[in-house]
Symmetry: C2
DNA sequence: CTAACTTTGTGAAGAAATTCACAAGCCCAG
DNA sequence: CTGGGCTTGTGAATTTCTTCACAAAGTTAG
């Protein structure tokens, strides 16, 4: 398939969000122009984004909301449940595990891992907290699609290596460091520090 | 000044992180090639990124670590303290207010705001929790550089409007919705759902 | 001091993403 | 059934970002 720009994937997610709202409010169709306004982009951009995957609209009318919603879910791989394991039962790890919107989207947290003996053995909303050393062994019986790294910077690469060894192909990294993985493993790093520094930059250069 | 791509700002933040580590480990100089390797980019990219702001290197040698560190901090506006107010004393708001790395970078949380009467009046590590209705009035006496939106989707636009009315020019939005603001206000939205959906997309299209 | 080597800074080339602009298709009113 | 009005889908133009490639400048060894 044609290469899909990362920016397009982000926008498709956005569009999907709007479509779900539109569906809720009973709209039957929506035009690229309306989606563009909601998403802060242009109608041509919306159409180009969608055209990568096919032509879903009807000229003179727009897109059928339920149909496009379904198609976008398919495209984004949201039709199914993804099994997620989280390493690091600290603030971020626990918040993620408990966040209801997360499960609603099909991301099912099947286990939490931590290195602290105090936390291991406890449970959080029926999710067991296990020793991180068991991750590789557990992965043999339980399948994990996505691994979340929610440990401090120092431990991130080690956790990533463990996940890779356990056969996990997609990693979401919340530690503020780059992690190295083989080419067939996808990673995304969410680094809040970077976001704030971008704001700082914007503020420092407002008038220039 | 020449327009600075968003991607460049992100990379500068990354480089700064590496430089801080290099400084700690006592490296005197660093080449664009080393920075590129650490940041997963190319040496030409590193040099282009820096060249927007001037020429800081020495041919045949590279960049002096302490000097480049200082320059990047200046460029990113990290030489000073930014006053931050957070609206929403829920999980995200509290986590952010307590995160030590945040203050170390110069982001000083001066107040938390919430709508719940149960939370208003309490304190968190000496940070007062106040009623959100007071934000505009407080902004007259206290100066806020950055406003953080850490409320559910429904309340986000209202909070943004309040912040804009209070004269805040930079907003970090953690609510999973787009917010509309005047052109002279900078916003960044951190939407974890989008990140996970991007992983989902990658997984669903791995072999294609 | 010289020659071989390293590394920057930057125009020019190339690639990628966005925007333009319009033919083609579909709806709807009369 | 016809004509005016919308809206899509998409090549082409444009803009933006990245990579190439090399002269210029500095370093280091002998």
């Amino acid at each position: 398939m044609k290469r899909v720009p990362d920016s397009t994937v982000r926008r498709l997610s956005l569009y999907l969000g709007f479509l779900e709202e539109l569906e809720e409010s009973g709209e039957a169709t929506v035009s690229s122009d309306v989606l563009a306004r909601l998403g802060g982009t242009t109608s041509a951009q919306v159409r180009k984004d969608l055209s990568i995957f096919g032509s879903f609209g009807k000229r003179g009318l727009g897109y059928f909301v339920p149909e496009l919603t379904t198609r976008l879910r398919e495209i984004l791989g949201l039709g199914r449940d993804w099994h997620v394991c989280i390493v690091g039962a600290g603030k971020i790890g626990l918040a993620l595990a408990q966040y209801p919107g997360f499960r609603e989207k099909g991301f099912h947290v099947s286990a939490l891992y931590d290195a602290s003996t105090a936390k291991v053995g406890t449970r959080l909303d029926s999710i067991p907290v296990r020793d991180v050393g068991r991750l590789a062994a557990d992965a043999e019986t339980e399948h994990f699609d996505i691994g979340v790294i929610a440990v401090p910077a120092e431990g991130a690469q080690f956790v990533a290596d463990t996940m890779v060894a356990a056969g996990i192909k997609a990693i979401m990294n919340f530690a503020p460091v780059q992690i190295a993985v083989p080419a067939d493993v996808v990673t995304r790093t969410v680094n809040m520090g970077l976001e704030f520094e971008a704001l700082s930059f914007a503020l420092a250069n407002l008038s220039k």
